[in-house]
Symmetry: C2
Subunit: 374 residues, 2 copies
């Protein structure tokens, strides 16, 4: 059985593949495909050395913590590759526009690409990265970050596109900011890089979802070392998540993808996947997608919903599958996981609950929902 995960002091080039694998799992279908950014990050860490990880609780009051990552439709990133210096350009432009010296970087979310993008800039600049993020998973919009929920202003913010154009925002309200940055992403081909929600260490300590980078590395290592049928790995995954702030992990469904409808709309990947049992009759499972897997239901019976995590893995290898990679005929297992406590408060559920995504149901914690049909 897996022991509790280890809190890391640094991220080395050898950790990046595990970090990406674990992050894709936690990203619940979103966060962007990590492959190209994994290579860029490994190269940056080999060239500049490891990046120090700092626990959120150890941040000095006066630290200036800058979240940094990509915003847009993950599907686009499969075809529109990064130049590679976007995180560095965003950081440099943020500092020149604000006159602030950034002391720590942090990811927006634990997402395939978004977990590692801050490492690229941190390695080149010799900056530490906070061991944590603003979601403990991936979610599609800026106001859903724990930073925003805790009242951190979104701007000054900087966006960089694949041509090296930069746009600077001074917008007080996070909903306005989200709309601006989303429209800009659409204007610039569907994906941009932003640096936003900068905050002092004292503020960050209270709103960062802690330890998620270390946890993702531990999770990725388990998935890599014990690669094999998902059902065999379940006990170890349950133990690992029980040792973390996620708490519960539950098997919801195993079946094959019989329908997938996915389109880029309004700057997001929007769609729905339908799964059927591998053989014989049985209830289908439906998964609603908006960049991430947001709601899993059997005949209108909800099995798990946002902000709890819904993870789709390959049945035979337990490898997580991003929403933009989900395809007809794949044999998959669907897991439901409790979200970190940051998202279970009333104010948080007002911006990340199922109704925020247009679903006509309230959030019920996964541990209080019926188990799936198996």
């Amino acid at each position: 059985m897996a022991e509790a995960f280890e809190r890391l002091q640094k991220i080395q080039a050898e950790d990046v593949a595990d970090l990406c694998l674990g992050s894709v799992f936690l990203a619940t279908g979103g966060g962007g495909d990590p492959y190209v950014n994994q290579l860029l990050t490994e190269a940056a860490l080999r060239s500049h050395g490891p990046v120090a990880l700092v626990a959120a609780s150890a941040l000095p009051d006066a630290a200036w913590v800058l979240p940094l990552g990509e915003v847009g439709a993950p599907t686009v990133s499969l075809e529109q590759l990064p130049v590679g210096d976007e995180p560095l350009v965003a950081l440099a432009r943020y500092e020149s526009a604000t006159g602030r010296r950034v002391t720590h970087l942090i990811p927006f979310e634990v997402g395939g690409a978004n977990s590692v993008l801050p490492l690229v800039a941190a390695a080149a600049r010799g900056l530490p990265v906070v061991d944590g993020d603003g979601m403990g998973r991936a979610l599609p919009e800026a106001q859903m970050m724990t930073f925003a929920i805790a009242g951190v202003p979104p701007t000054p913010a900087v966006a960089v596109d694949y041509l090296g154009n930069t746009v600077t925002f001074d917008t007080a309200n996070v909903d306005d900011y989200e709309r601006q940055v989303r429209h800009l992403a659409i204007a610039m081909g569907g994906m941009i890089f932003t640096a936003e929600h900068g905050m002092v260490g004292a503020h960050a300590r209270g709103c960062v979802v802690p330890d998620t980078l270390s946890f993702a590395v531990g999770l990725g290592r388990l998935l890599r070392q014990r690669r094999g049928p998902a059902k065999d790995l379940l006990p170890e995954l349950e133990a690992l998540f029980a040792s973390s702030s996620y708490g519960i992990l539950r098997h919801l469904y195993t079946g094959k993808v019989v329908d997938i409808d996915r389109r880029v709309q309004g700057g997001f990947d929007i769609g729905e996947a339908t799964l059927a049992p591998l053989r014989g009759p049985g209830e289908p499972l439906t998964i609603a997608i908006r960049n991430e897997y947001l709601l899993a239901s059997c005949n209108d019976r909800v099995l798990a919903s946002v902000p709890d995590l819904i993870v789709v893995v390959d049945s035979e290898t337990a490898t997580p599958i991003n929403a933009e990679r989900l395809a007809y005929g794949q044999r998959v297992s669907v897991l439901g996981i409790g979200c970190p406590g940051h998202y279970r408060s009333e104010p948080a559920l007002r911006v990340v609950g199922p109704r925020c995504f247009g679903f006509d149901c309230d959030y019920v914690p996964i541990e209080d929902l019926p188990a799936g049909p198996g």
Copy 2:
């Protein structure tokens, strides 16, 4: 008969109504409704005194000339009123973001609102305004300004929305910039204020369409003083335009609006108006709209096309009617006017010719086209 128009040394509060009336005429349906901005401008000039007008040819080499105005769908500005300080905020933010001291302001275009917006900031700051603009008419997109055609970079640029949020752009290519700023306008309710295409005096002298503010005041004065049936005013209008760089003015059609289709789409007012004879049978006239009146045709026979001016006036008063005010049942006269020479070159026609708006025809100067059915 009207004599040639007078070149003014300054704009006073008493000139503003004529400037707005003449500008709506030259704006060919676009440029935004001037009413609220006329009041704001009159108040600013009464409070701060007249604004000096400087001929483009008199600009010092080292002057820093800043175009300033609103961008979006004119229909929106009928309902979403300005706070009033947007031009000043845009100017102040432009100077703080760039470190430059602006010496002269200039309108993007001779448009209902856009002709006077620079005056609001100029009056408050004691700056002169260039007697001219970047279009000699109104047109919907940034790359269509003579500044852009002459190679003036669009950025650094600043956008201000009705909430006082500011966004700063650093984008080399004007087509990218136009796409960014248009998407931002959509995100912020349909209308924003921008300061962009800043340039030195030496550059401005070569690309400003000269004398258009003075001309608009003279034209507005004529329309006000000789308010009456359009057909009675035609000889005087023809003489006034013959004395200017527009050259020709021609009556194309008189009839009633029997159909108007207009919607806000992609950040523009898009639509088509159909006119029929006032009485008896006869060919209908069709006018295509994209913020401005762009193409007038009778049964696929083009009578006038962009970049030449198509102006719709009330038949009984000769008052110009903006596209967002055009309504079923109105009795109107349609006039065609030659565009300033700036738009008749090959490079200019590549960005302002009929094909740039999706029409399947090349530009033919109005003087070479058949006259209308009368």
